[in-house]
């Protein structure tokens, strides 16, 4: 069974996010004054083959810790999609 893991990496709270600030200011300039905060991160989609979801969760977490996110400056979260085939 193939499993799709979606990894979302965001700047840690308290870490400067100049891109997020610039996006927020631009949205304000366009009249979207309700935007109280904006944070720009990364999205990584992984297709995992021949795995079961429970085992995959621990593996993807390890991938995040070792490569996909830098724990000094970033947080991550993982979502799963099960795909037949």
């Amino acid at each position: 069974m193939a499993v799709v893991a979606r990894v979302i990496v965001t700047p840690r709270r308290g870490i400067l996010d100049p891109q997020g600030k610039a996006v927020q200011q631009s949205l304000h300039a366009l009249g979207f004054g309700e935007v109280a905060d904006a944070r720009v991160g990364k999205y990584v989609e992984l297709v995992l083959k021949d795995v079961v979801r429970d085992a995959a969760a621990a593996r993807v977490r390890a991938m995040c810790e070792q490569l996909l996110a830098n724990g000094v400056i970033e947080d991550f979260r993982i979502e799963f999609d099960e795909k037949q085939g």
């Binding site: 870490i15 400067l16 100049p18 610039a22 990364k42 490569l67 996909l68 830098n70 000094v72 400056i73």
Partner: protein, 245 residues
């Protein structure tokens, strides 16, 4: 003394670094290919500037996994000298050999300029030949040079004298205007707890000859052989740490 300069795909200051060691200092220098685990007996590893692996994912994130980096980490753990400039500094942070991280410049602009840095401690292999508080003019060219770390890490860096360089104005004051990238505490360079690994965002390898605009960077390279040759019993100067901004 024998220098090694790591060459990653996308390194672009490796030739300048080799030139400093070979042509300016008159030492032996060898390029260290990223796929080669052998450090060829070098005393000091230089990690040059550039855009290793295209800066994919994060600056330095991919370079950290190059085969040569296992040997560089072992060399560092054994007390060997390691000096990373610009992308080399980013790689050392990603590899966990230096604390903190380098993120997008606070104003989102690539900065290409000459800056002044103040030597905050002479107790490292690359500032050993400087005067405490000495001001150096060095080029910068980077988009991700904003040094960040959590408060506990910053406090530890201050307490241990691990902040090696700060961005300052011509009068030596660490002002916001003198900070080219928004680094916390105007930090331009740090060292590890063992003091043998140093990272610096500006480029000393581009400032080694007056003909090319200045030779302040040469002091950093000349410090390393002096540090290795120092006589611990008699001639080692007391480490000097300049208080924070």
């Amino acid at each position: 003394m024998r220098w090694g300069v790591v060459v990653f795909p996308g390194s672009n200051d490796d030739r300048d670094a080799l030139r400093v060691a070979e042509r300016v200092l008159g030492d032996e220098a060898v390029p260290l290919w990223h796929k080669d685990r052998d450090l060829h007996g070098v005393d000091c590893v230089l990690l040059p500037g550039g855009f290793s692996y295209g800066d994919y994912l994060r600056c330095g994130a991919m370079a950290r996994f190059a085969p040569v980096m296992e040997s560089v980490a072992a060399h560092a753990r054994a007390g060997g000298l390691v000096f990373g400039t610009c992308n080399g500094f980013q790689i050392l942070c990603e590899a966990g050999l230096l604390p903190g991280a380098l993120v997008r410049n606070r104003n989102l602009r690539f900065v290409c300029d000459v800056v002044t840095v103040r030597v905050e401690t002479t107790d490292t292999p690359f500032t050993y030949g400087c005067r405490p508080g000495e001001l150096l003019q060095l080029p910068v060219k980077h988009g991700e040079g904003c040094f960040v770390a959590d408060e506990a890490t910053l406090a530890a860096l201050e307490a241990n004298g691990q902040i090696v360089f700060r961005y300052v104005d011509r009068a030596g004051r660490a002002t916001a205007e003198a900070n080219p990238n928004g680094s916390l505490g105007n930090i331009a360079g740090v060292c590890n707890a063992g003091r043998n690994v140093v990272g610096l965002m500006p480029h000393p390898e581009h400032a080694v000859e007056r003909l090319l605009g200045g030779d302040d960077g040469l002091k950093l390279f000349r410090s390393a052989p002096a540090w290795l040759g120092r006589d611990l019993a008699t001639s080692r100067r007391e480490p000097t740490v300049v208080p924070g901004p």
